[in-house]
Symmetry: none
DNA sequence: ACACACTTTTAATATTTGGTTAACACACCG
DNA sequence: CGGTGTGTTAACCAAATATTAAAAGTGTGT
């Protein structure tokens, strides 16, 4: 993968988190730079031009939003990929975050695998030749394929991997009816064989989380996203 | 091109050839599935319903011919486009191949450019026979096969499976009168036996949903779409 | 290595809905 | 008028899906 050797700038005022995240990133072969405040962050960013900048929202002085705004203003940095770190409680902050130009939101506490997965996705985006908008919007619903996140009416909803992949599939062609076979094939792959009810259960969980209206059933045919 | 994103099933017991061909196909953006024996091939084919199936003739157990025969027997697969791969020496085999219902013969060794060209041609054929789009328009009516819905004067109407299949049949040849027997055969299949009134009831439901004008009756003959 | 939390799958049960039927109404034609 | 073919309606039934809870599988942190 091209995403190896990428440089990442981590900005957080809590040394533990900085340590934890950079440990995980370095283990994967990324080139990690750290800053514990906004001033240093910008200074380093301008020097290094990192492929990805990860900002903690809650910081003294210039907080994450401020830094991000500054980055977007800076001619040389404005195309950087910026991700925010934040305690998952604060829903409002996400909207604010996207407003100032964030590319992703990662909720704390972070699990290593999820974190690395997202970083990878973000770097892919940066390299990405084509970018067909990885966010899908439907009235009050936003589905972000890269960050495995769904935001419904401003609040973030966590979906498991399978749930998310299923939702992505359905929402990739709103209106199109996906047969069970098609769903099995595209979400589980050709080899895997699981019981029929498995899909129903996942569908149910998704409906439970994002509401009943979005996924509809046509008996004998399949499911579709509306 | 419509032929992009097509799914192709490659079947060969020689891993090298499989690898070589799928590499070339994937490079062109095709969705490639592989199988190294007939059993797997049929299993995958039934799940995936590939647009094109490429079979090596010389394989242990069920050889290419056997697989092709089975495909032609299978109700769901019999309309697939099937191409054979074979060492070009064996001329006899071609006759056998066309007998079992092959659509094309590709001689080994294959050159990538020739191979891709043929694949393209075969996929065009597959699309050509079918409708160019899965939407059918009639003044203020749109029938969308993909979403099992009908849009009438801008508003979306949901149809059940049978209703939709019936409507698809009638609208596939506007003006043509379909006899009851023909409808039974094409919508219900040859085995299923249901009462005469069943059709009427479905016709009624469709009329109820999309309006009375579109489906007309000719007593003693059948129904047609106007 | 263990316990814990979380996801995925299974299995068993309930519920829904679409397809079918049957009974009857209507229309047309000799 | 009867006869034939179609329209209409409501009720039934079976198949498809929904819903649960519990088991099996996964990864994570201690």
């Amino acid at each position: 993968m091209e995403t190896q050797n990428a440089s990442i700038l981590l900005v957080d005022d809590e040394p533990d988190i900085l340590e934890f995240l950079s440990y995980n990133l370095q283990k994967e072969g990324y080139n990690v730079f750290r800053a514990s405040n906004g001033i240093d962050a910008l200074k380093i960013a301008r020097k290094v031009r990192p492929n990805l900048i990860i900002l903690d929202v809650m910081m003294p002085q210039p907080d994450g939003y401020e830094i991000c705004r500054e980055i977007r203003r800076d001619e040389q940095l404005k195309d950087s990929v910026v991700a925010f770190l934040s305690a998952k409680s604060e829903e409002v902050s996400q909207i604010e975050g996207f407003k100032v130009g964030a590319d992703d939101f990662i909720g704390k506490p972070v699990k290593p695998r999820v974190f690395l997965f997202r970083v990878q996705a973000l770097l892919r985006r940066q390299n990405g030749v084509k970018e067909t908008s990885n966010r899908i919007f439907f009235d009050d619903l936003m589905i972000d394929k890269e960050s495995y996140t769904v935001v419904k009416a401003g609040i973030t909803i966590e979906l498991s991997k399978k749930e998310f992949e299923l939702l992505i599939l359905l929402s990739s062609k709103p209106g199109k009816v996906f047969s069970r076979d098609e769903i099995f094939l595209k979400v589980w792959g050709p080899e895997v064989i699981v019981g029929e009810r498995t899909i129903d259960v996942h569908i149910r969980k998704i409906r439970e989380k994002i509401g009943l209206g979005n996924i509809k059933t046509i008996k004998g045919v399949g499911y579709y996203f509306a």
